[in-house]
């Protein structure tokens, strides 16, 4: 436990010293919020956004976006970079068990996810009068399941992709695909036939659904929860099978 705490503390410091990742994790969802909030505002409109204002609809979706950016961009690039440069090798040659290095990175990702989600929600409430979630108590487990799944996906990508550069490129691509198809970009209603079908391949779609349900309706979507958890478990299994130290 002490070792994990120390590892997490060091990883957290390293994260904060890396300006680019800090900006990406904290600022990108905020920028998206400001730009789209400026365009769409938060006036409820019939037929779109489940009957609530655009920003109320999108705030929980942007939390999903934060999780996705950590899961497909930051974590994989970080892990692949550490492997590429021999940092993992260096840790492994000492007394470090396999899970500890990865575990610390996941814990740090979760902390960052919480921090940037809080900043995001606070900004949405202050700037666009977005109301509080209908059920904060159901939002909490939805957030947790989603965050763990995206961390698992991040570790999986970081295990499969061997260089930081490739991980970054693949991560950006995945992130934009998710942004457009996952329900955090254009409202799902406007997507045409083929895209409607493709969006079901994107885990963010279900994460957004899982987060929106308690936020907007105070409910819980078991189907979305199951699919998100399944993605997480699949990622964990792939990681366990394919994780490489070097």
């Amino acid at each position: 436990m002490t070792t994990l705490r120390k590892m997490v503390a060091v990883e957290l410091k390293l994260f904060l010293r890396e300006p680019l990742t800090v900006v990406f994790a904290l600022a990108l969802p905020l920028i998206t919020l400001f730009v789209l909030g400026g365009v769409f505002g938060n006036t409820p409109e019939q037929g779109f956004y489940a009957g609530v204002g655009a920003m109320s609809f999108y705030t929980p979706a942007y939390i999903g976006l934060v999780l996705a950016s950590i899961g497909v961009v930051s974590l994989p690039a970080h892990l692949a970079g550490n492997r590429e440069r021999g940092v993992l090798r260096r840790f492994r040659a000492s007394w470090v068990p396999a899970g500890l290095v990865v575990g610390a990175e996941v814990v740090v990702s979760l902390l960052i996810a919480v921090a940037s989600s809080l900043v995001l929600v606070a900004s949405a409430m202050l700037l666009y009068d977005v109301g509080a979630p209908e059920s904060a108590w159901l939002l909490l487990p939805a957030f947790l399941v989603s965050a763990v799944t995206f961390s698992a996906l991040g570790v999986m990508l970081g295990s499969l992709i061997s260089t930081a550069r490739a991980a970054q490129a693949a991560g950006m691509l995945l992130w934009f695909v998710m942004l457009f198809l996952g329900g955090a970009g254009p409202p799902p209603e406007v997507l045409s036939g083929a895209l409607q079908w493709f969006r079901h391949l994107v885990p963010l779609t279900y994460v957004v659904g899982l987060l929106q349900e308690p936020w907007l309706h105070g409910g819980w979507d078991w189907a979305d929860a199951g699919i998100v958890a399944a993605w997480g478990m699949a990622a964990a299994l792939v990681t366990a099978r394919w994780f490489r130290w070097e």
């Binding site: 060091v10 440069r85 021999g86 040659a93 000492s94 007394w95």
Partner: protein, 305 residues
């Protein structure tokens, strides 16, 4: 003296390519043992198998009585390791790295003292990225020692260092041994092996081609001694009667006597006996480099085979 490392018939292949064909050696407690060989000879693979970082395909390995294959983690807690091609995160600070690695091992050394011992006292707040090659090397050695190891593996620790930094690194290796730690040194530098190692194994194409003390290897594989001096005197035929002398060549006043064994002492005695007392009498012995080249160079037939 107890053996702390034993390797018997280690074999390791990556796909169809055998990195290590058949390697056996033992390392005694408290010695500096060298694995010397050209790049790609299988040295690094051997030490990685010894630390349980790679799985051997065949052979018996024991380090401190533990099997690296099945007791790798326990083993890594008791050995120190300076790996080739390893790094720390760019932005980690020297003190943080030492503190972290110390906290990762039970019964760790006082890392602040290590930091001082290895000349990093003023560098505690410096980031890894800002360190020079020599400083990084010292940090890696300090990290390798942080768990108070009984055996340290040093893999190509002086590659990429300038000559001054190499000398410093050599002193560090001797300092490690002076604290009672056994050192396994992987290198492709002959001078380094000759200067530091108590015993060494020369590895080539995945096999141990010779093993022994540096001096013993030279005596066995490159016993030639050249004795040089200068004299104006004409007749030196008596030198042929000195035991061990094989050839005497002269170029004006420069005389070169080639032979094996204690030729220098015997030639000197013979010269003095006949009233020659050259002031520039000196002997030249082969170095490990000649042994190495002799054992690892291949004839064209062999290359084609």
């Amino acid at each position: 003296m107890a053996a702390v490392v034993t390797v018997e018939h280690l074999h390791k292949a990556y796909g169809p390519v055998a990195a290590v064909e058949d390697v056996s050696f033992t390392v005694e407690e408290g010695e500096i043992f060298g694995l010397l060989g050209p790049n790609g000879a299988g040295k690094t693979t051997t030490v990685e198998c010894l630390q349980g970082l790679r799985r051997a395909d065949a052979g018996t390995l024991r380090v401190l009585g533990l099997d690296p294959q099945t007791q790798g983690r326990e083993l890594r807690g008791r050995v120190g390791s300076q790996l080739q091609e390893s790094a720390l995160p760019d932005r980690i600070r020297v003190a943080e790295a030492l503190d972290l690695f110390a906290s990762l091992t039970p019964g760790a050394a006082d890392w602040r003292r290590l930091m001082e011992q290895w000349g990093l006292a003023g560098k505690g707040k410096a980031s890894f990225a800002s360190l020079s090659g020599g400083q990084r090397q010292r940090l890696f050695v300090a990290l390798a020692l942080v768990n108070e190891p009984q055996v340290v593996f040093l893999d190509e620790m002086t590659t990429g260092l300038d000559p001054a930094a190499r000398r410093v690194a050599w002193e560090l290796v001797e300092a490690i041994r002076a604290r009672g730690t056994t050192v396994v040194l992987v290198t492709h530098f002959m001078d380094e092996a000759e200067r530091l190692c108590d015993r060494l194994a020369i590895v080539d194409r995945g096999r141990v081609v010779a093993a022994g003390t540096p001096q013993g290897l030279i005596d066995l594989h490159a016993p030639q001694v050249l004795v040089r001096f200068s004299t104006a005197a004409g007749d030196l035929d008596f030198l042929y009667r000195v035991p061990g002398v094989e050839a005497v060549t002269r170029r004006r006043e420069q005389v070169e006597v080639a032979g094996t064994g204690p030729v220098l002492a015997l030639v000197a005695a013979a010269l003095v006996e006949r009233g020659f007392v050259p002031t520039d009498l000196r002997g030249e012995r082969a170095t490990l480099e000649e042994v190495f080249l002799r054992l690892t160079s291949r004839s064209p037939e062999e290359e084609g085979a």
